[in-house]
């Protein structure tokens, strides 16, 4: 059992002539919470997409839980234990909250064609248990009972974000990838979410990798922060170090700001 649940080595992604991600080495320790930050266009979501199988790297290796996952289709990677949320919410709009979570649980259920048509006792039991578990997950993620049967498209923004997490938890992941989970949240909601991520690690024993822009959230819960800029890793370390790192400040605020920020902190 290696230390890291996810290991990426020399991962590179080129789109035609454009290098979006340039030879990155990266890992997520088991049970760790890692944040991936960087200015817009740094390649964070591209990197995420390679970890989940949506994109295939131009070169490099990625191992999850000891298995090479490059070339595997997205659903296979999810089955191995990688769950994710999306930057722009991609819920199933005409499905209720419960149904969305049930879809998340698809790969952990077994009901097939004949079982479904005949509604064998086994399938009935599986559906009932799945339904109960879906409700559990919805409660755990902070969704109120009244939205259980509501279409996802009618949910409030905050609820939709929570539902995305609940759905990802439905896939029974070992590693949870969160893509800008607090975008659009107010400070109170962000604080609640920061605590929630801690609980995911403590109570569900998950490892978490987040892309985040909100520094309070990043600093509040991460064990480690990795900074990308223009497809390259420019810094990595504990949150406090990163905050003071000159290259990081430069990347976000432009050169010259480093001196001022250094003087101010």
């Amino acid at each position: 059992m290696s230390e890291a649940i996810l290991e990426a080595h020399a991962v590179r992604k080129e789109f035609g002539g454009l290098v979006a991600v340039s030879d990155i080495d990266f890992d997520v320790p088991r049970g760790g919470i890692v944040s991936l930050i960087g200015p817009n266009g740094a390649g964070k979501t591209t990197f995420f997409n390679m970890l989940t199988g949506a994109y295939t790297p131009t070169s490099g290796q990625v191992t999850f839980d000891g298995r090479e996952i490059i070339g595997l289709p997205a659903h296979a990677i999810t089955q191995l234990g990688v769950g994710r949320t999306f930057q722009n919410i991609r819920l199933f709009q005409t499905m209720s909250s419960v149904e969305n979570v049930l879809v998340g649980m698809h790969c952990r259920m077994k009901g097939g064609i004949f079982g479904s048509i005949l509604r064998t006792p086994r399938v009935r039991r599986e559906e009932r248990q799945a339904h109960d578990r879906a409700l559990e997950l919805l409660r755990y993620c902070g969704l109120h009972q009244r939205v259980d049967e509501e279409y996802a498209m009618n949910l409030s923004y905050g609820d939709q974000r929570r539902l995305e997490v609940a759905r990802a938890l439905g896939t029974d992941p070992k590693l949870l990838l969160l893509d800008e989970p607090t975008a659009g949240m107010n400070p109170q909601e962000s604080a609640d979410f920061t605590a929630f991520v801690g609980r995911l690690r403590e109570e569900l024993k998950l490892s978490v990798l987040m892309i985040e822009h909100d520094m309070k959230v990043v600093m509040g819960v991460s064990d480690r922060v990795t900074v990308l800029d223009r497809g390259e890793k420019i810094a990595e370390g504990a949150p406090a170090e990163i905050q003071r790192n000159e290259r990081v400040i430069e990347a976000y605020l432009g050169s010259g700001a480093a001196g001022q920020a250094g003087a101010a902190s």
Binding site: G16, T56, T63, G66, I70, G71
Partner: protein
């Protein structure tokens, strides 16, 4: 960790490469086989081969005019306009009505009478079909521009039925014929089969049409507007381009081309029928896809290929499936292209990033 887990990873990484190699080998075998068949025919009956080749080029030129229409419309609103072939059919009907029924051209008039009248018929056919196309877009497709893709597709099928039935109602189920109006003088003989001037004329007309179009799309303002709308509807609108008018113009253009194609067809084949459009339209669509949908030169190239394939299939003697299989051959090509190379001959492969 089991051995299978360890070995599966690298195997899966290599799988796309194996697939690509297999694809390359398969297409080489296919093309090689094709080349062999052609070679055999060329060697064993060269006269027939050349005359069939020339026929294919003529057919291809006619298909090109229709294929370009398909590709223009698909390029700009991503709609497969099933009714386009029937607009082409209406072009043929208009041509027959004007030239044969009303004017009475039958090849007996002198060239200085025939040429302007044919030119007039050409303009009339183009205007009619262009207007028809624009009207269809305005009333049947535009309201559905934001609807899920299925709706305009089904509407296009419905329009196709309507256009066909209208022709059936007006012209009846039998063939409509127009006598030879294009000069039928024989230019030369190939293996006993005459090559007539009209065949050459069809080809000669289609080339400047294509050139004019390429110029229009590449260099004029309208053309730039068309390309902008094709790439990003909303951005084009924000840049001040009248999207509705640009799309209407595209339909006008496509319709006019179909009308011209209709005239060519009648001039060459001398007859038409109300149900000609759908299948011919599908052949032209296959051509557009083969060449790379959205690409003008590709449409022309694809049309030439399809024309040649049809002519070869129906005209050659040795080891070809024969005319009862033409439909299947062409649609098989359509399927193979879409499955193995959806961007066509000249298109760019769709990148990961949509």
């Amino acid at each position: 960790m089991t051995a299978t887990a360890r070995t599966r990873g690298p195997v899966l990484a290599v799988l796309p490469m194996i697939q690509r190699q297999a694809r390359r080998i398969a297409s080489s075998i296919l093309l090689g086989g094709l080349a062999l068949v052609l070679l055999e025919n060329l060697v064993r009956s060269p006269g027939q081969f050349v005359s069939v080749l020339l026929l294919g080029i003529t057919l291809g030129s006619i298909y090109a005019l229709v294929a370009i229409g398909y590709t223009l419309v698909y390029g700009i609103i991503e709609l497969i306009n099933f009714a386009h072939g029937d607009v082409f059919m209406w072009g043929t009907m208009v041509t027959v009505t004007l030239s044969a029924h009303w004017i009475g051209l039958d090849g007996s008039q002198a060239w200085y009478v025939t040429v302007p009248l044919v030119a007039g018929t050409l303009l009339a056919a183009m205007a009619f079909c262009g207007t028809m196309n624009v009207t269809i877009e305005r009333f049947a497709y535009r309201p559905l521009r934001n609807a899920p893709k299925l709706a305009p597709l089904i509407t296009a099928i419905g329009m196709s039925f309507i256009l066909q039935n209208l022709a059936l109602a007006i012209y009846g189920p039998r063939e409509q014929s127009a006598n030879n109006i294009f000069p039928t003088n024989v230019l030369f003989d190939v293996g006993g089969i005459p090559y007539r001037a009209k065949s050459l004329l069809v080809v000669l007309i289609s080339i400047p049409v294509l050139a004019a179009l390429v110029y229009l799309v590449r260099s004029t303002r309208q053309g730039k507007a068309m390309r902008a709308v094709a790439q990003d509807n909303d951005a084009a609108r924000m840049m001040g381009i009248d999207v509705d008018r640009t799309i209407a113009f595209t339909f006008l253009l496509a319709g006019a081309l179909a009308g011209a194609g209709g005239l060519m067809f009648v001039m060459f084949q001398t007859s038409t029928r109300y149900d000609l459009g759908f299948q011919l339209g599908l052949f032209a669509f296959t051509a557009a896809v083969l060449g790379g949908i959205g690409n003008l030169t590709g449409a022309w190239l694809g049309a030439m290929t399809i024309g040649l394939i049809q002519a070869f299939n129906e005209g050659l003697e040795h080891h070809v499936p024969g005319s009862s299989w033409t439909q299947s051959v062409i649609f098989a090509i359509l399927i193979l292209v879409l499955v193995f190379r959806p961007q066509g001959i000249l298109g760019e492969p769709e990148s990961d990033r949509a």
